[in-house]
Amino acid sequence: MSLLRTENVIMQFGGVVAVNDLNIDIKKGELAALIGPNGAGKTTAFNVITGVYTPTNGKVFFTPTDKTDNAAEIDITGKKPDKIAGLGIARTFQNIRLFKELTVLENVLVATHVNANYSFLSAILRAPKAKKGERQAKADCEFLLERLGLIDLKNEKASSLPYGQQRHLEIARALATKPQLLLLDEPAAGMNPQETDELTALIFKLKTDFDLTIFMIEHHMDLVMEISDHIYVLDFGCTIAKGTPDEVQNDPKVIEAYLGVDADVED
């Protein structure tokens, strides 16, 4: 069953067509990757999916599973980012965007807001429902921090963390919205190969543990080729290839536009 689907999405900025006729179809439970040269429109595609931009043309559909295990396709084109987050799509950012002055724990707690099922007044009056909700949220968040190895830092300011841990925190925060689909924009940027390997393992583990579908932008080819089920390749906004890692890796168009003729990733 497809979880996320785009139909002929076009995103244009003035004269620049950043995304041109994008058709992707991500199945539930898979790990898909989006690769392509710089400026190919990958981040823009994420921005369209998460509602930061409304596409010039085309549609985006999302099929979340609700509590009763029913799944119905919803047109999320042009919906606000917070609505989309509420439906179950979470993301990280290419340039880290944490709430710098808040603590690590607070950063993650903010993301539970979208699922808070108690009203404003009961929150202020600390009604039993709100109290229970808060306790639950805190427990959830601490669990997530534990998983991402940040629990000892929970009372530190986010801005005081080293870069790598900030990336982890971004992932923890995204997970706290209880997403069904997680979008990762270059999670391994700025990491050395060793750190990248660790991250690869982590992503893989999170995917199974949290029953996630993941859609990821990455330039580290070893990571991409190792863990993705499906790869989409963009160039100048157009999809120049899609398929399994093997197919894509050997596609001459991809090699020419992106990987480079002598790019031997396993070198």
Binding site: F99, E101, V110
Partner: protein
Amino acid sequence: MKETQNNIGAYLKLHWKTAVFLVVLLIGIGLADNFVDSYVRRLLNLCAIYVIVSLAMNLVNGFTGQFSLGQAGFMAIGAYTVAVFTVPIESRAAIFYLEPMVPFLANIELPFIVALILGGLASAVAAFFIGSPCLRLRGDYLAIATLGFSEIIRIIFTNTQSITNGALGIKSIPTISSLWWTYGIAIIIIIATILLINSTYGRAFKSIREDEIAAEAMGVALFKTKMTSFLIGAFFTGIGGGLFAALLGTVDPKQFYFILTYNFLLIIVLGGMGSISGTIIASFVVTLGQEALRFLDEPMAFGLDLPIFRPGLRMVVFSFLLMVIVLFYRKGLMGTNELTWDFIAEKYRVIKKKLSKKKTSTEGGGN
């Protein structure tokens, strides 16, 4: 039943210091209410009103990160609502002697508390109209738009003579002088703000302050959340304005010149943007300080006949202090910290340590 008792018991155990503090505070207010003279009482009342308005301003500016300068306007709305609805009907003809009050208002007189809440609501409604276009904008535009809004309110109140009595203002507003009104409401508002800030809604406010795009991506509805904060701020400010009217017993548009907003700005900057306890402390410091600095305006201050002591010096000193705080104590008294028991204990430890260090070093020097 038993469980609730247990709950209360556990709660008290955890917060006994706070409980004791509250009891002491209430007794203090009660004593003050009975024993201070009307000058001190007036100042104390003013402090409480400043606490309310500054807290509201800090909620929007400090916690939600929306730079709003509309306090004077929101206060004006609250103040005028109280004025229009509580002035005794029989004195209205004498007050509106140039142009009579419009008939549909002329015969409505409401109890103070009803008018006060109405004032808060009216100011929240105004906030909705100003916020709808402006909260979508970048920060500094909001500042100028809200400043403009408060000027518009003042100009409207100046010109709608048959409702507000225009430039003549409204007098004979039944006054409150008991400290319980202002302090009662201030305490309620402080507690409500603390509870709000520490709830998931409060965290949503702060996340917007930190990074709007990330907040939205994490599911915080930007506009709705900003609006919530803005409306609550306006509501509290309106209440503050209503109390202000009832404290002075008279209102006129000139009182709500946008310079008034600067007082509150000074308070939240001094107290620390994003600190509730800082705001409360600073409200007292600024209100009482302004009064205490009065001697600067009088010739012969300190018994010296220096020509520098003449009217106007106080405001110079006052604005100079604002600059000093902004430039050298940017975080204000409290930064974004709160004056919690832990905080006090921590400070106490630090000071003690410093003192003992000094002691040993002086001792060392003596040897």
